[in-house]
């Protein structure tokens, strides 16, 4: 026991105090008071008068004429002057009585509870946008520093796009029915990319992807800001911008960037229309379906978007949110059905996406890879989700303490949904047993986990930027991993520039050629050759002059014995087993002469192109 008087000492504001459900809903767009009857008065506090009489909001009482405090209800309509009798600054009755008794000759204006504004303001918006711009600049630099010749997938989609473009404009027959084996519609992304490629070349087509990925990051920022706040949005965007998948997809002329952008756009529409009339959510349906059209595997993420329609609508609409979800699901379903009925893409969908040949990559390997490529960000998201379930407050301001927040069940569901989505792709690839495209699909999942990762980073940094070093370290670690993995990824395939230079003079419209990756020469030499003239290192069938049919390795041997190809290009990487078969068949083969041996260095070491030309 102490003899000192028991003054009530205001505790420093505790940003980690448990939040009690309060009488409103706060997010970055401002404060939305909920119904007064929903307001639950905490036991420990005296309920301020103003809270019980909502009219008092209009009459700022305690402030009198606040000098030096520029409160103006016209400028800050969401500011709640009724909040003025703060608990933190509440003085003990004795002191108050003394002050009253003394009546000094000067007047101390009442101190506002906070000297800054937690609601959206123009300044905050611009600061956030500036930081976002910086994040986007970093992302662009990371993507643009990558350099290599066209990867076989890029080459394939671009050549297909050129063929489709010729088909659309001039009715030139397609060399191959691309729709039968593409994992996205050949009439969507490939045509767009080929049009850009025509004007600006491969760099142009890749820059198109960069635009898509920058757009994705910007949309991610926007919907995270609406779900949580600017800080979480910036943190989530900053992490997403530097992971391998984002950096690589941002300079990779495949339909992944377009698909992930459309998914982000659909998500953005769903989040943005949370308070709009229920039917507004239907705007997301065509975008989501277009994403699926661009890349069939995008369908994996549609359930997430549909459930998100429910979760984002729930706090504002209650039960009507279910209608919102149902409407979106029906809209997407109807459009998908129409799309499948109206096009012949189903076979392609089956072959490339759903009935894809199962590979031999083990689950442990795939999970390890997924963890390397997205693990850090995923863990941040999980941390953020857990922390969000425990405590919903997203703002240090004491005012925020009294804001209404969604209940823990809602928060848990949101966390589960967003983090769980990041696991979809790895899980599906484990099911398929293939590592092909995993890095890109990890990125698709991270788009959804990113808002939670943003929350995770803000929680890690703490209120009032207490531990900024943790956030910086986390981001730097993600950045370092992202850069090194993106560099590795972009160096997986050999630079084909010299190979193309060597074979250029040996390729014409009439020859028959064989290559480990025919897509690459078909793309680069598209002016003088077509895909029909090229045989790849997979699925060989050959009928010799006597009419005998040879399949597989025997097909290669028979074809080379007969000198069936005018040019052979092996890279030793794409299908090393077949390369060995072919190289053995070329040893001592009188038809062929080694034209060039081109060493290259790629991410997994060194290798060489070997090019043979038929001389007799």
């Amino acid at each position: 026991m102490t003899s000192r008087p028991q003054y009530y000492t205001p505790e420093p504001y505790d940003p980690y105090a448990d939040d009690e459900p309060q009488g409103g809903w706060f997010n970055s767009d401002g404060y939305i008071p909920s119904q007064p009857q929903g307001y639950d008065v905490p036991q420990a506090y005296e309920a301020p008068q103003a809270y019980e009489v909502p009219q008092a909001y209009e009459v700022p009482q305690g402030y009198g004429s606040p000098e030096g405090y520029d409160y103006d209800p016209r400028t800050y309509p969401y500011q709640q002057p009724a909040d003025q009798p703060t608990f933190a600054l509440q003085t003990v009755p004795e002191a108050e009585a003394e002050a009253e008794a003394a009546e000094p000759g000067y007047h101390v204006p009442a101190t506002p509870e906070v000297g800054w504004d937690m609601a959206a303001s123009r300044r905050r918006a611009w600061v956030s946008r500036a930081v976002l711009l910086f994040v986007l600049a970093v992302q662009a630099v990371l993507s643009l520093r990558l350099a290599n010749s066209a990867f076989q997938d890029e080459a394939l989609y671009l050549s297909a796009g050129h063929a489709e473009l010729q088909h659309l404009l001039h009715g030139t027959p397609l060399p191959v029915n691309y729709a039968a084996y593409f994992s996205g519609s050949p009439q969507l992304y490939p045509v767009l990319a080929a049009a850009v490629d025509d004007r600006f070349g491969l760099a142009g087509a890749r820059t198109l992807s960069l635009a898509f990925m920058l757009g994705t990051t910007a949309l991610l920022y926007s919907f995270t800001r609406r779900l949580f706040n600017e800080r979480a949005a910036l943190a989530g965007a900053a992490l997403f911008a530097v992971v391998q998948s984002t950096v690589v997809m941002g300079y990779f002329a495949t339909y992944d960037a377009a698909a992930v952008f459309l998914l982000a756009l659909a998500t953005w529409i769903v989040v943005r229309t949370d308070r709009a009339p229920v039917a507004a959510v239907l705007l997301a349906a065509p975008v989501a379906v277009l994403a699926v059209g661009v890349k069939y595997a995008s369908a994996l993420y549609l359930p997430t978007i549909v459930v998100l329609a429910l979760l984002t609508g729930w706090p504002h609409k209650g039960g009507k949110a279910f209608l919102r979800m149902l409407l979106l699901a029906l809209g997407i379903g109807a459009l998908l059905a129409a799309g499948m009925y109206g096009t012949d893409l189903l076979a392609g969908v089956r072959q490339t996406t759903t009935d894809r040949d199962h590979g031999s990559d083990g689950a442990a390997f795939l999970l390890q890879r997924s963890a390397e490529w997205g693990g850090l960000m995923f863990l941040t998201a999980v941390g953020g989700a857990l922390s969000y379930v425990r405590r919903s407050r997203m703002n240090e301001s004491p005012l925020a303490q009294r804001l209404g927040n969604p209940g823990w069940r809602w928060r848990a569901l949101l966390g589960l949904l967003l983090c769980g989505t990041a696991l979809l792709a790895p899980a599906y690839q484990v099911h398929l047993g293939t590592v092909v495209s995993l890095f890109k699909h990890v990125g698709f999942g991270l788009l959804f986990a990113a808002p939670m990762a943003g929350v995770g980073v803000t929680r890690l940094i703490g209120a009032h930027f207490r531990y900024p070093q943790l956030g910086i370290m986390l981001w730097t670690a993600t950045l370092c991993l992202g850069i090194s993995q993106a560099d590795w990824r972009f160096g997986v395939w050999p630079d084909s520039a010299k190979m193309i230079q060597v074979i250029d003079s040996h390729v014409d419209r009439t020859g028959h050629y064989m290559a480990s990756t025919p897509e690459v020469p078909v793309y680069y030499l598209r002016e003088k050759t077509s895909q029909r003239q090229w045989q790849g290192a997979f699925a060989m069938e050959y009928t010799d002059r006597k009419g005998r049919h040879h399949v597989g390795d025997a097909g290669y041997r028979a074809a080379l014995r007969d000198g069936a190809y005018d040019l052979i290009v092996l890279d030793g990487l794409t299908n090393p087993r077949v390369d060995t078969v072919v190289a053995d068949a070329l040893k001592g083969n009188a038809h062929y002469r080694l034209l060039a041996d081109l060493p290259f260095r790629n991410s997994s070491g060194t290798g060489h192109y070997r090019i043979w030309v038929k001389t007799s």
């Binding site: 531990y467 370290m473 090194s484 062929y592």
Partner: protein, 347 residues
């Protein structure tokens, strides 16, 4: 309530400290991998500027494509003169004498000699291809076949590849005669073929695709009983059939009489084009007629790529300058546009 809160704050502070440690570790790891030591099994590509492809493109230029030189539209107009191509002086003198720049310069190198890249460059600078006749004086052909000279061949092949200009190589020419150390008295056809294939394969493995391989028997006229086919390494290992034959006074000087029989025999097992890899006519009354026959014979046959005039004084005086009248005739015939072209721009 308070103590609990304090406790939870304490634990969260510890959690953060632990997390900071983990992150610092991770940062160190990724930082290390970024600065990367390249000694590891998988070379790191994340070394800032060292993007894999940039190191690859820093390599030398595209390998020289010799295929346009294998069967050019015009004839090779070649010469073997002392000192060339290390010094091109005698070639220049020959050009002045015959009125046409040779586009093929032959020289002789012993097995064990280094590759004369400078000579090849000198000849190339004047629009001529270099033909190197590689003669194993001191090394048994069987040893070469068995791989006892592999180090030498690899070094040689690497030097040839690095030069990246086309070079014609013929190994152990006149193998079908008994007069050479690698001739029929010392080397079996199997050894010869094995050595040829072994050398060829070593060059291919080294990526020296800029070599044109000329298999060079002596004409069969003096050694009719030696069958050529057993000595033939195979079409996969040979680009040209280089015939060595001279117009001599003791025999019929018709083109076909000199080269016809050999050509016919060789045509039974290969369709590769011919080059008269070494030829000349003995000085004397008949020389002008021999020269006429030579030019006419080469010009008439599409499968005959050209000839190399052996302008040496060796065993006999084969030099053109030895007989001014014949030289005049040679000069007249050499002016024919079908003979000679710039090898740097084969049509």
């Amino acid at each position: 309530m308070r103590p609990t809160k304090r406790f939870s704050r304490g634990s969260s502070a510890r959690g953060r400290a632990a997390l900071a440690g983990v992150l610092a570790g991770l940062l160190a790891l990724t930082g290390c991998s970024l600065l990367g030591d390249d000694s590891g099994g998988s070379p790191r590509s994340g070394t800032g500027t060292a993007v894999p492809h940039s190191t690859a493109s820093a390599d030398k230029a595209v390998p020289y494509d010799v295929t346009p030189l294998l069967k050019p539209a015009k004839k090779y107009y070649g010469v073997a003169v002392p000192g060339a191509p290390t010094s091109m002086k005698s070639v220049d003198a020959y050009t002045g004498m015959t009125g046409k720049q040779p586009n093929l310069v032959e020289y002789y190198a012993g097995w064990g000699d280094g590759f004369d890249a400078t000579g090849v460059r000198n000849a190339w600078a004047e629009g001529a291809l270099t033909l190197m006749s590689w003669e194993p004086f001191d090394t048994p052909v069987g040893d070469i076949a068995a791989g006892r000279s592999d180090r030498y061949i690899k070094e040689y092949a690497t030097a040839v590849r690095r030069l990246n200009l086309p070079v014609v190589i013929d190994f152990a020419d006149e193998f079908n005669g008994q007069w050479e150390k690698w001739g029929t008295d010392h080397v079996t056809p199997a050894q010869y073929v094995a050595a040829w294939r072994h050398i060829h394969q070593t060059f291919v493995d080294a990526g020296a695709t800029n070599v044109i391989w000329a298999w060079s028997p002596n004409i069969v006229n003096p050694v009719r009983n030696v069958k050529l086919e057993p000595y033939y390494p195979g079409d996969a290992y040979v680009d040209w059939i280089g015939l060595i034959g001279y117009f001599t006074t003791g025999s019929d000087n018709a083109f076909d009489s000199v080269f016809g029989l050999t050509r016919d025999r060789i045509r039974t097992f290969t369709k590769k084009p011919f080059l008269l890899l070494e030829t000349a006519a003995m000085a004397g009354e008949r020389r002008r007629a021999d020269i006429r026959n030579l030019f006419a014979g080469v010009a008439a046959d599409d499968d005959m790529l050209g000839f190399v005039w052996f302008n040496h004084k060796k065993r006999a005086d084969w030099r053109l300058e030895a007989s001014p009248l014949a030289l005049k005739e040679f000069k007249r015939l050499a002016a024919d546009d079908r003979f000679g072209f710039d090898v740097r721009k084969p049509s």
